[in-house]
Symmetry: C2
Subunit: 234 residues, 2 copies
Amino acid sequence: MPYSLLSQQDVETLVHFDLFKDTVGRDELMKLFADGKVRELKHREILISVGAPLDSFALVLDGAVKLLKHSPKGEDIIMHFALPGDLIGALLMNQTQQKSYPLSAKAMGPSRVLVLPKKTFSQAWLGNLTIMHKINQLLYRRMHNIQDDKIMSTSPLKKRIANLLLRHLNEGKTASNLKISLTRQEIADSLGVAVESVIRAMRELQAEGVTEKLGDKQPELIHVPKLVKLLDLN
Amino acid sequence: MPYSLLSQQDVETLVHFDLFKDTVGRDELMKLFADGKVRELKHREILISVGAPLDSFALVLDGAVKLLKHSPKGEDIIMHFALPGDLIGALLMNQTQQKSYPLSAKAMGPSRVLVLPKKTFSQAWLGNLTIMHKINQLLYRRMHNIQDDKIMSTSPLKKRIANLLLRHLNEGKTASNLKISLTRQEIADSLGVAVESVIRAMRELQAEGVTEKLGDKQPELIHVPKLVKLLDLN
DNA sequence: CGTAGCCTTGAAGGTGATCAATGTTTGTGG
DNA sequence: CCACAAACATTGATCACCTTCAAGGCTACG
């Protein structure tokens, strides 16, 4: 596995993450990154597998990582998309009952993560109130998103997709695109539905002009007002 | 609204909650309860409404409180059942983006909660690392449960119900009953399905001997091994 | 050049939703 | 204490939405 030490440039990236915004002092920061190694992930490479020992946690530097579990039927169910600045597994470090990772982490496109040993968490993170508050906020936001999905569980699929897309939009005015490019499969796995259903629903969204296909490579353009109107409808 | 001060007996209950287990020193504890008032809730009485100002949080002393939102269609969706020792809204106190309660809290049967002003949180809770870790754990466990539900979202309703029941069982060996008595409506609201569907599914569970109706008042008995077997099946 | 992953389409089928009606229980106020 | 309303439970009939299965296509990559 390609591991490397934290470069000066990576540190620059790190300090601009919201997570460390309120932490002052360079050496205070460096303590948080103690024994950290940068790991390069290829598309679809697995960072963590369900059941792996809880000996480290990670921070996304670049790219994106999806957190997922397997349903009883064997399908993937995606719980969260971790973008740069997001933590993976940190919430587990002080969970004494838990002995292994409850979910897997898989790279979406080439990505880079900072891997930190549990020891660093115990020594530098756990006692740091500022950081603990930030972790709390991340955890809260993650829960909020899952709850948001749950609320929509009784809505027709088209609305559920619209809601999901809306959450992953770049701060756009009228027309925008997603922060991460999601495959139909990933949308399906996020919502716990069949791919075919997603495809059919998105075909309709396109017919209604909510999304627009640009190039063949390009991720589709999304018309935000139309999307919002679709959600308000009914 | 019937408010009263914290009695000596209530304090005894409080100190035995896991939340305060690692907090030593009586005066340290009393600081955490500063300006706390006990509120008695009647069955179905509302403690918090969506959109209410975030000026206080609560701790369940007795009974049970369900946390819920309204789906776009207007149905209730239950996010969590708060039992004695569980916090309500505490996770929001240091969430600066959030300005009002995102969900409602409603008593299930006569209940008692300790209501604490936000000020107490800022002054005594926020700076207390032990407590912050405990809150983290509560938050984590709550998220874990929601994720657990999400995993099951592709399973047939009978299994989803079985999974839900399993989570709310008393530590029982072979036959057990629920910690809280849930109406069919509440099960439906938890899973985001129609009541009628729950009724039909539970009728089958009873036919299969997984649950057993005792008295007409009594909550039904659940045969744990059968329940687990049902979940493993397929 | 072959495989793996994703996308697409169509046909058939099932699970749960909806609607409507009725029963039961509980609590409320006259 | 009775009457009535509100919340919950139940049943049956019908229907829509989503799943499943099968088959085929496209693109990337070793």
